[in-house]
Symmetry: C2
Subunit: 456 residues, 2 copies
């Protein structure tokens, strides 16, 4: 049989383009399970100016893997200090569990664009479809997995709004670990459903500061009605891990290895933006300790380092906790009691007590060392968002796209709307991508307050 192959290729190519670009305006982009990235991106290998080292709180010497692994799993400690390997393999057991909810959809926000009348294209990566309702599971799974293969039996952690705690509780359950979670007291009281979710997964949940640790007792002695912060909860969790045989500490943001795990978000988004035939001019994430922001940003930022792209990266932090725009760049502790390594970071001081905004996940005094260095060196920007503006943006988004966003994610939405309007005013149109880090279904009391006009 004779055959003109070139003609066949043209036909095949037309057919493939037809399948690739549907006749309607495609709304969501998924990756097949085989296309989900199998490696995380380690920005430490590429970052132009390396951050200053973390220091041991006692010796003031740079921390080592040995030192860190007294607190964290060995593998996470290695990842924390790894400045040479650009790509880190995701273990098979973690990949298997990622497939329970990944890829998460990249969504074109047509309805939001219409609602604000912008000429820009707005996309969001929807991490709220994780079973736990947020991006936090991306790091909870590997942290629990590494502990389990290293013979650890118990894990402990802190949680603010409860999203990280819920993720860790589930991850611990599936990797056969016991878990103890210290939840910021104000969130424990404001968001009882998140406590229940952790308990369904078998976690022991304690409001922090508590009388169960020396750090907690000291804080309560100084400030009897302390409402808790991520700083107090970290102190208590770290102390429990140190005092308990076979117990390791895990955490939900700030540290390099947590942000490393979250790069799965941006790596997927990069492939999905390509499916949509676009590349983002602006990438936006809300900002607590930096792992959500870094997760969506870093994989795109590597193309800025090479000069191939010139994308803007914007961290959206709450005006009530403005470490990036008003903090000092200095060595500070990650927790209230001073148990953690000293980190070179933008900080409001480790005893900073933020007001009780509903975005519990953003009430943290400092920024991770990598994002701090990147901000210092001009590779990213930061904006402050007032709580009221964040909920106005969240309700606008909900009415348009149908998804009620987490109070944390509302900050990213507000920043995206601001940016789109700025470009509109300047007569230009851009491609804007933000991370919808979680849904707000457990945060309806905050929306009630907003709708009743009682929010400041």
């Amino acid at each position: 049989m004779n055959f003109d192959f070139s003609v066949f290729l043209v036909i095949l190519s037309v057919e493939m383009n037809f399948n690739k670009y549907p006749s309607h305006m495609q709304k969501r982009y998924f990756l097949s399970e085989d296309d989900i990235p199998r490696q995380w991106y380690n920005i430490q290998a590429d970052i132009p100016v390396k951050p200053m080292p973390m220091l041991d709180p006692l010796t003031r010497e740079p921390v080592t893997v040995d030192g860190l692994s007294r607190l964290f799993s060995v593998e996470c400690s290695k990842q924390e200090l790894n400045q040479s390997d650009r790509w880190i393999d995701i273990p098979d057991a973690v990949m298997e569990k990622y497939r329970y909810y990944r890829s998460t959809p990249l969504v074109r926000a047509y309805a939001l664009e219409k609602a604000i009348g912008t000429r820009s294209h707005i996309y969001f990566k929807n991490e709220s479809v994780s079973p736990i309702g947020s991006h936090k599971l991306n790091s909870a799974l590997p942290q629990a997995y590494y502990c389990s293969v290293e013979g650890v039996t118990n894990v402990t952690t802190e949680t603010g709004a409860g999203q990280w705690g819920a993720a860790l509780a589930y991850a611990a359950k599936i990797f056969n670990l016991e878990s103890a979670v210290y939840q910021v007291k104000i969130s424990y009281e404001q968001k009882p459903y998140r406590r229940s979710i952790m308990q369904v997964f078998g976690a022991q949940v304690t409001p922090s500061p508590s009388m169960s640790t020396r750090a907690g007792k000291d804080i309560l002695t100084r400030t009897p009605y302390h409402q808790g912060s991520l700083g107090t909860a970290i102190s208590e969790a770290v102390e429990l891990a140190r005092m308990t045989h076979g117990c390791k500490y895990t955490l939900g943001s700030v540290m390099n290895h947590v942000t490393l795990h979250q790069t799965i978000i941006g790596l997927e988004a990069e492939k999905q933006m390509e499916m949509a035939g676009e590349y983002p001019d602006v990438v936006i994430g809300c900002f607590g300790g930096g792992s959500n922001f870094g997760g969506i940003s870093f994989p795109f930022m590597r193309h800025n380092f090479t000069g191939e792209r010139n994308t803007r990266f914007i961290a959206a932090e709450p005006a009530a906790c403005p470490k990036l725009t008003q903090g000092k760049f200095e060595y500070d502790f990650g927790d209230e009691a001073g148990y953690t390594p000293l980190l070179p970071m933008f900080t409001l001081g480790h005893d900073f007590q933020p007001s009780n905004i509903h975005a519990g996940g953003l009430r943290y005094h400092g920024a991770g060392t990598i994002v701090s260095q990147l901000l210092k060196d001009g590779y990213m920007e930061a904006v402050d968002i007032e709580q009221l503006e964040s909920f106005e943006a969240g309700c606008l988004f909900a009415k348009a796209e149908g998804i009620i966003p987490a109070p944390e994610s509302c900050h990213a939405i507000a920043a995206a709307i601001r940016v789109a309007r700025e470009y509109d005013a300047a007569g230009s149109s851009k491609t804007i991508l933000f991370n919808l880090s979680g849904h707000g279904l457990i945060d309806m009391a905050a929306y009630d307050q907003f709708l009743a006009g009682n929010m400041k």
Copy 2:
């Protein structure tokens, strides 16, 4: 260029199979946006024994499109009585909004299978990923759309647990309709977050029975502390629709057109099961009025009608509201006050007051006419599930798969586990599919009660 085409085809085919079947055990199956079904399946065209007609409550004559459309949109009224067209086109505007969350994933429940040690394969269709958190949006969108194109300005409805109300509130918002929702009083009090969700979407929410309608006043006069039921809420919503110019009534289950819209679930699942290389031996749905059950079941059941397949269909109802296993098959009203047409159905009586189980969406006295006829004629089965068994199953599922199921969906999970264990005991293995109609993140108070050992 000469080329042996047959060799190329073999290579191409190997390549395609490689892409189709990943090396790992695939967890989730999605359809591309172009493969989402564009028609609903109307079982009325195929059902072997047609149900007896619905009767006008005043004349006791069979209802007509004219009669029904005084209450519902004209298009829904036509669909309600359409016994001839097997396939009904989904309007483009509804398809556009379906693409916001559809296809929903078909998921192989590997972890659940392992947890119960079954040899059967268990799949679930995950409707909980809808932005509203349940399958209800599938019918809310077309009902609101048809109202909007027919010049209606206001819609009204009832809701139990609040899942339907939340879906209708969002659908009304995007099609520019005002909405008023009567929520069963016990759910309004037990589940305040769902009320808040409806309010974020702009709905007016009233606990039923209320003093705002004659039906509500009459019920409260007879039973001053009446906790409400879907029957009371329907009465109030219907009365408001009848008394208000430009206002139509919408509802979340029971009627034929609602179940018609829900067949998108089963039609997608059929294609997705094919992607998984399996066909279900058993299909299971929880049962309130029948639309969730019919939605997953009817597209598969049509192959039983032709003799091509011999699938089992199991409706899982709460033991506290056992209309299918203990109700009478007779003409009864769909509501407490007797405003709706008389329906030939399995019923516990339209004044039945179910106990306050947490599965608010299943607390309805009757079953839709089609499912009633199918049960009567032996095309499906029904099982009763005690509340405690349902939550045991729900927690087992949550710990394995990471998703906290709605109390309604827990009934389907419990039935699936029962069936798998029965087959294991008999030494056989089957393919079991159930519908995970929604998540339980708004129902954590119920889980609290279960975990505390206070659930009966």
